[in-house]
Assembly symmetry: C2
Homo-oligomer: 460 residues x 2
């Protein structure tokens, strides 16, 4: 089967493909907020319907949380590889809503200095990206009546909320999900230009804590000085999370953190990463991590501790001289190498406990725990894909790291014993997880065409 007519069909069908994506983007499938559970369900139904329209045998699989979508379609010769494609249909919350220039769930094409973009929550992470693969399959089937390989489609609705149902689901459907290689489209282009095949991912550990002091809010005139203030304690403890060099102070935190191999160090150096532009695009100029590390190490190969949210006391207009009964924070850790998220969770909780003064107690809630991931770049699909992506993007594809956390890749390996290849078309300025998220129309079009090329190269 030939590739060219597939590529032409992708271009001629682009407007319809964009309309399909818009339908999916209009569904506010925010998985972390229980208020949007019905919308997550609607997004799953939409995917089932769309996959059925191209002949995939597919169904919605219930979980204790949001449903999975699992489907299969045959293709290729007897010896053609069997690929499992993973994406997630859930999206991040949209607050602060007032920083959005339009309704996050009313997608539109916008002409910008950087070209035409698709503006909506989820346009890049991950609805736009997962649709590039579905559209590539649609074009192949329309043109040739079949795909060049067997494909299992697997879509999750809890990726942005710690994937509580994922592991049990994989364990339960092990046989059903066997394939030669998993494909994930949830990453980006290197420096927004160069097609990148991801070779390592960071893990993620989320912790929420509430410090409790007096049994009610107090007046700082009457009690100020004699009563402990939980916000004061919280800032003191979290203020100690990093030392002056940016190193994380939780005991044992760096256990299992590897040094960069000379080979990888050489590869990354060759990428000539421009951190001034990377940071300059978001109004910054100084790498803020460990002072003895390169910016690329800070975001790809070094672990982090971040306070993602903090609140306590009076936060409204004006002023209130209150000593609050409670103070809250959400903290997350990006993990690398062989760091053990469960050990770090225990160490972090003990480290906080050890710093509590008299009259203050703490309660913790865990939010997901995943190890870092290292891809098997010796799988033939990696070289086959690298060879064909250059033609689409005008740059040779590179093997790159990724600072984000895509725990499913690790679970595919540990539970399904399946390698994963991550390729994606997002750009650094897509503002995923932020107001005004967008996906370049170029990412969408070339992404679809790229998958068509990869299917051609990997399949038969």
């Amino acid at each position: 089967m030939t590739l060219d007519p597939v590529l032409s069909r992708i271009d001629s069908d682009l407007e319809a493909a964009t309309d399909r994506l818009f339908d999916l983007l209009r569904i506010p499938s925010i998985s972390t907020d229980p208020a949007y559970a019905a919308d997550c369900d609607r997004a799953a139904d939409w995917l089932v319907k769309d996959l059925q329209s191209i002949g995939v045998e597919v169904g919605k699989r219930p979980t204790p949380g949001h449903p999975m979508v699992l489907g299969h379609i045959d293709g290729g010769d007897a010896d053609a590889p069997h690929l499992l494609f993973y994406g997630h249909y859930d999206v991040q919350p949209v607050d602060p809503l007032d920083l959005w220039d339009r309704d996050p769930f009313d997608p539109a094409l916008e002409d910008t200095a950087g070209g035409t973009v698709i503006r909506a929550r989820g346009s890049s992470d991950d609805k736009g990206q997962l649709m590039t693969f579905i559209e590539a399959c649609r074009a192949w089937i329309a043109e040739h009546g079949r795909l060049p390989c067997k494909i299992t489609f697997f879509f999750e609705g809890e990726e942005e909320s710690g994937s509580p149902s994922l592991i049990p689901f994989l364990e339960e459907h092990k046989e059903l999900m066997q394939a030669d290689l998993a494909l994930i489209c949830d990453t980006g282009l290197f420096e927004s230009r160069v097609p990148a095949i991801i070779t390592q991912l960071r893990g993620l550990l989320g912790e929420e804590l509430v410090l409790k002091g007096p049994d009610k809010d107090l007046h700082s005139g009457m009690y100020g000085g004699a009563s402990i203030n939980p916000i004061r304690v919280l800032t003191r403890i979290l203020g100690n999370l990093h030392d002056d060099q940016g190193r994380i102070q939780v005991p044992g935190f760096y256990d299992g953190v590897p040094e960069l191999s000379p080979e990888l160090a050489k590869q990354w150096k060759a990428l000539e990463f421009d951190h001034a532009t990377f940071l300059g695009d978001v109004g910054l100029n100084t790498p803020a991590g460990e002072q003895d590390r390169s910016a690329l190490e800070m975001i790809w190969s070094r672990p982090t501790a971040e306070i993602n949210g903090i609140w306590g006391g009076y936060t409204g207009d004006g002023f209130k001289t209150v000593l609050p009964a409670e103070a809250h924070a959400k903290v997350s850790f990006r993990l690398v190498g062989h760091q053990d998220p469960h050990a770090i969770r225990e160490n972090f909780r003990a480290w906080v406990q050890a710093q509590l003064p008299a009259d203050v107690t703490v309660e913790f809630t865990g939010h997901g725990a995943s190890k870092a991931g290292l891809m098997n770049t010796t799988h033939p699909a990696f070289e086959q894909s690298r060879a064909v992506l250059g033609a689409e993007w005008g740059h040779d594809a590179v093997f790159a790291g990724c600072g984000g956390s895509i725990p499913v890749a690790g679970h595919f390996k540990s539970i399904l014993e399946m390698d994963t290849m991550l390729v994606g078309w997002a750009k650094d300025d897509d503002q995923i997880h932020s107001p005004n998220e967008k996906y370049d129309l170029e990412s969408f079009r070339k992404g679809i065409r790229s998958w068509a090329r990869v299917l051609d190269a990997v399949g038969s």
Copy 2:
């Protein structure tokens, strides 16, 4: 004129007096929140109407903020003293609303283990307290047709929001407000039992700050490690506000903080303050201030720094791995002796600035700045009042300190050259500024009777 029939009338009129207070408590006059401006205005109107009903010549005086209420009524002989009574009709915000057992603005009498209480926001601070004075005047006039002294009534509606209009108003109406002594009913009983005449007050300085880092919220997977996180910087700076001994680290903060005079130290020792009960009532047991100070010093004569509110990043349900663009805090300082609030504001801002890393900026907003107050206990009214209060409460009255800040007393001295006497009937468990604020019916009744006694003792 005799006192006894006035006291009897106060008792027989108590139910009607309670109903009048309830009318005032139903008005949600939260001064710090612009949404309640019209309610503040209604509360002022209510006071004008009520004072007119007892023959006071009174009017509502506009300000750039909430209106003042200023009225006058003659009384006593030619040589009778002229007293100015001050109170505030505005109240604190009510959040967290879910911790209230009833609508904060639907007052009710509740029978509790400690006796019958009036439950509502403002019942103690300050509507219930100011009404004790008005009701005492009402009883005097009803019984004897006149008061034993001339009285100017002065009510403010911005006390809980930094009194922005107070100083200009006092300067503009200097002549109109001349009197021999100011009376303020906004303080409490010592250990909830002993009538206390306040001899010193702490000052108050409020500062709000917002730290700004990246120009938008970022995804901690893509930027985590290389991008500065304003919450991390905020916790690090505010975590340094106190050292391990509880001393405040802002340079020059302790300039002008006096040691307790041997005489005052002796007086306070004699009070045998029971800090175990004071803290135990709010679920605490360890004085949390400077480790080398007594609990009474911590709340009366030592300065404090408190974080009254903090917020930034994602604070909703679930988790969001965001690096926020901003982090916010509200910080206040209680001041003593000759500490200069303006110098401390400058020092605090410089201290924060000096700790900012690259790429982080800070913006400050001031919320009020008042010096500590020292009363002139040699004014005859102090001894005259101390002599008669014992009869009402069954305990000799004491001269006590107060950890709260009532800046108006200082302004009366500096602008009107008038001394102030502070007496009040609040109890430690009134939960002012907290959910479920209450005022004991006993405080209300004995408070009214106490003012009747003070008017009798001071007047002629």
